[in-house]
Symmetry: C2
Subunit: 285 residues, 2 copies
């Protein structure tokens, strides 16, 4: 039996699953203080002594560089209670089994890569477009990381000529996340995204930004699949708008799979991250 934790900034999910990464039991609770939240994690896994390994996909930024003394920490998060919290270390104090450690989006990417939308591919990108924009990438089975983990939501893009919004990223103002994450809509119009008409021009503007990002990811990584999730992608027109802009911007410069097979939704839906955690656990063994 394998264990998994999807540690989000607002919600934790814990699960146990079998060797085929099928979820056997799953619980979810609010993210509060580290000690209190970890106690709930322990309460769950203490009832499953047969778990052989655990995989953690955590909100971040986190330290993934094994050369670093802070490997396993949540680092510079705006959630001050969790800043510099030795998440992996606390888990290892409690359980003397192998524990895998990566970002929430890398875990979701791993889930989709192994048993989801990219199960037949050798490379993929997973991007979630919600209150923030985060992504993970896998090439030839390896999670793409080096000095640290990817932060592909913060790449530099061009502003749309009809968009006079300055962006809201506290670091870069008008990076991808600053211009295209969900909160940008409310900051522009004072109206929540779900209350904006499907024909509002904002969807074309966001699609223009996301398509630029997808073009750059495509040229740099040449993945076989790009999986787009997150609340903003729930807007019914977004997927088609993104594909249309992507096609225009790439200008046939490099080949991709047929766009309907290339830019897709996560087939594991809300279970991508926790399933990725089970896979990470298996790899840690």
């Amino acid at each position: 039996m394998l264990g998994a934790i999807e540690a989000g900034g607002t919600k934790f999910v814990c699960a146990v699953g079998d060797e085929d990464f099928k979820i056997i039991e799953r619980v979810s609770f609010a993210t509060t203080y580290p000690e209190e939240t970890l106690q709930r994690v322990f309460d769950f896994f203490d009832t499953y002594p047969q778990v052989k390994a655990i995989g953690i996909g955590s909100f971040g930024p986190i330290e993934v560089n094994k050369q670093s003394q802070k490997y396993g920490y949540i680092t510079s998060t705006p959630k001050t209670n969790w800043r510099n919290f030795n998440f992996l270390g606390e888990m290892k104090k409690q359980y003397s089994i192998p524990i895998g450690w990566t970002t929430d989006v890398n875990a979701a990417c791993l889930g989709e890569y192994k048993v989801g939308s990219a199960a037949d591919d050798h490379s993929c990108i997973y991007l979630t477009v919600g209150t923030g924009i985060g992504g993970g990438a896998i090439v030839k089975g390896e999670i793409i990381e080096g000095f640290g983990h990817t932060e592909m939501g913060h790449i530099i893009i061009r502003s749309h000529p009809d968009d006079d919004f300055d962006g809201f990223c506290p670091y870069h103002k008008n990076c991808l996340e600053g211009l295209a994450a969900g909160p940008s809509i409310e900051k522009r119009y004072g109206i929540k995204a779900e209350n904006l008409d499907a024909n509002h021009k904002i969807w074309e503007i966001l699609a223009y930004y996301l398509a630029q990002a997808l073009v750059n990811y495509t040229l740099i990584l040449r993945p076989e699949k790009i999986i787009l999730g997150g609340g903003v992608m729930n807007q019914v027109r977004m997927m088609d708008l993104v594909k249309k802009e992507f096609s225009f911007l790439l200008a046939d410069y490099v080949e991709t799979p047929d766009l309907d097979a290339y830019i897709v939704t996560p087939s594991l839906r809300d279970n991508a991250g926790i399933t990725g955690g089970l896979i990470l656990a298996r790899q840690a063994l």
Copy 2:
């Protein structure tokens, strides 16, 4: 003994080397027609029957996807004589030894990764800024590729507010290559780059473009090292200007190694590509 070919659009280099990737002999000749050029390649390697494997780093675009029927071909190059040329196939007809196949920039990246500027790292990017802009990346020993090879020179970037040049990329006009490759200078000012003063504002503009690219590569790949080569980087001020702009644009959002250790020149200089070819040959064995 190992063999290597650095197949450039204007010049071919062939070499043989030892198991430590030291070059034993090296020849170079102009790239003409495929048949004529290949004959010179054969003339060289025919004198070294002890060569156990050959690695080819070729100009492109090339087909690197082993699922493709055109694997081993030079594909849509503007050099019409070489378009749809089965380079790897012709080599395999002549020599029944393992032959490795990748792009010229991936080979240079591999050379720098194994025995050059990134020899102590687990990941790196190699970018050459000359008549075009091309790059390769390696993460955990694997060349980054998927549906095809990277084309990181064509990513979308922002125009500089003081630059009214439209760009010269035939596909995208104002992508990175269209705005920042060497020929953009002559197209802007009618003067060759080497005749422009070191204090000309163009160097700051090019540095702004290259720094944007480096920020995006950093956020997407998080490499431990970025190696910058090519004619444009020979301008004495460029390296410092790029680092300064990079630091400003990244805004300390993610950690990198110290910039003087992170953004560096190729220590193998003109031998990066051919050395990478020898390494590719070794890997093909």
